[in-house]
Symmetry: C2
Subunit: 350 residues, 2 copies
């Protein structure tokens, strides 16, 4: 079969890790007799540098015409400490999510047994952890009205959610829970926020359609504690955009392997797949960045395209690279392999 | 000397732990020849039950006429899962902060060497951690306009900050840093939020007046990771209300001893002192709750009243109770002492 893949490698280590994912996909194409047609497109700081726009219209078009989007990373330090920058790489990512209707960000967090000892948490705390985080991605304070008063003295951000926005991701989360351990934890701040109260009300209502799934509530401050105290209590976590950003990043480090975590953003049509690590500017171009998260993102993409055997083959190859210690310095500091070498191993193994 | 103390014991385990703090204060009064005059006042769920109002005017008056406020905890599960409750205990706490102008919440997080092995984190990760979190407490999304559309379909929360609100706590944080390891980390989401960009701009400006203090920035999602990966990198953390709520709760569990963490809320006039654990409904009335955080809150209160020797005496007594294992089941599960017994020990030792 033939698939059109939009490749948005982006900034920092984005291009070098995405290159390894493409190697893996090419190997899959060979073995399983598919054809992946890649179209590169610009996003982020590199897009600003070349076009002045963090998300050129052409990129949106390319994504919309593709079967899936493979994303690298965006962001560059030169924008971070400049509060008055008019254009920022992140705007490209946010606009892309909105333009493609990617309202649901899915982040699996798993304690890979082989990597547990890399975790900052004790083995007995994280052992058995297997969480699927459903983060709403196109609403909330990320997309509310922003305003700075003319005299520069008062800034405001609006946060809003509609029943419709809450419902569509809630149904996806409940369906996921039905295929897992049948438990959902809604993370909110319903003791303070009106939007959180609407989440709680809407989700409680929808839960009635999924009688086999248990629904739990946790305030976000408590969730931030529970994630460290007892992460294996969670199955599916459902939450709004900003809380999802914080809680999923917190969760990403407890397994000891942020360089292995992939994510999917889905919604209306085409899905987007990306490693959850960022652009990691310090490592750019050094051939040391861990490509496994990007490679596993490609596997998630294949699953989304209903190529389950193909996805499993990649996951299996990643498992093998961990087993043999053919990994980058973040996992294997004593005898690190380069980014490209790890990518080559995966492709060869496939 | 004579001091008027407003005692707002509140809900859940609030009353029983506050009782132990009062025992300690009474012992201090004896030894150092002071007089503490306590006035009890209602707040939270118990205030709703008795008056229909989570913060009766009388309580505000009592606090305003006092030299300090000793606070227990508020909250009751019967309100948490009822998104349509018109009156909630938390409103009492929020209104109290606003009425007393308590714009600055200070939470020290320390790895007590004796308790490190209780931590979910590995010893080498948390060892040496000593953080002072400055959380803005009367602004941001907590106090913005809240709205639910008439048809119940759309909820909104407004978030706003002014240069003035940011400046006053920033100066306090820099002064604290000058007395510590001279480093401030501003936690924000300046790549997305207008309010965060105003924080970054204002704090950068103010930093020029404190040339001996190093200023760093961290996005809140990254901060949530760093708190687990490498907490000892932090000295003073400065942040807005909601991020402070999440990050300080996350930080509170890494030391392995949430039952020992006190906090101070200061601002215009009278200060308020409270344990950071909540009302812990499951333990209410069982005489098992750890009173040390409340007792250490009393010590923080004494420091704020310029009674430094007295505060040190309490801290010393707490250290002794840890050394001798005269502690509740959360710290000492094999041979737990009751809440009252721990309080008695501290008072006797003083
Ligand atoms: C880069 C930033 C805008 C983005 C977000 O906050 O959503 C990132 O942190 C993420 O989680 O994908
Ligand atoms: C009870 C709640 C409103 C409160 C807050 O979010 O500020 C609490 O979590 C705290 O941190 O003191």
């Amino acid at each position: 079969m033939k698939f059109n893949i939009a490749v948005l490698a982006g900034d920092g280590i984005g291009p070098e890790v995405t290159e390894q994912a493409i190697k893996a996909l090419d190997a899959i194409a060979d073995v399983f007799d598919h054809s992946f047609v890649y179209t590169n497109a610009l996003v982020g700081a590199c897009a600003i540098d070349q076009t002045g726009n963090p998300l050129p219209d052409e990129t949106i078009e390319i994504c919309k015409e593709s079967d899936a989007v493979l994303f690298g990373a965006i962001g560059h330090p030169k924008y971070d400490n400049d509060p008055s920058a008019k254009v920022r790489p992140e705007q490209g990512l946010l606009k892309l999510r909105k333009s493609l209707g990617l309202f649901c960000n899915i982040r699996p967090v798993k304690a890979f047994d082989r990597l547990i000892d890399n975790s900052p948490l004790k083995r007995e705390i994280i052992s058995g952890t297997d969480i699927s985080i459903y983060r709403e991605l196109t609403g909330g304070i990320y997309f509310g009205d922003k305003h700075l008063s003319e005299d520069g003295q008062v800034a405001t951000d609006g946060c809003s959610y509609s029943v419709e926005e809450i419902s569509r991701i809630t149904h996806l989360a409940f369906k996921e829970a039905q295929n897992r351990r049948k438990k959902i934890t809604l993370v909110d701040k319903a003791n303070v926020l009106e939007t959180s109260r609407l989440w709680r009300k809407t989700v409680t209502e929808i839960a009635k359609d999924y009688a086999d799934v248990e629904l739990d509530f946790l305030f976000v401050d408590n969730a931030a504690m529970q994630m460290i105290l007892n992460p294996s209590q969670f199955d599916v976590i459902l939450t709004e955009n900003l809380f999802g950003d914080i809680i999923s990043d917190e969760a990403s480090v407890i397994g000891g392997s942020i360089g292995l975590l992939a994510s999917a953003s889905v919604g209306s049509t085409v899905g987007m797949f990306e490693p959850i690590h960022g652009s990691f500017p310090q490592a750019t171009g050094k051939n040391i960045a861990n490509p496994l998260a990007s490679i596993l993102s490609a596997a998630m993409m294949l699953r989304h395209l209903d190529l389950h055997k193909e996805a499993a083959a990649i996951e299996n190859a990643v498992e093998k690279s961990l087993e043999l210690g053919i990994t980058t310095g973040d996992i294997n500091p004593k005898k690190p392999f380069t980014t490209a070498k790890v990518g080559d191993f995966i492709a060869d193994f496939l």
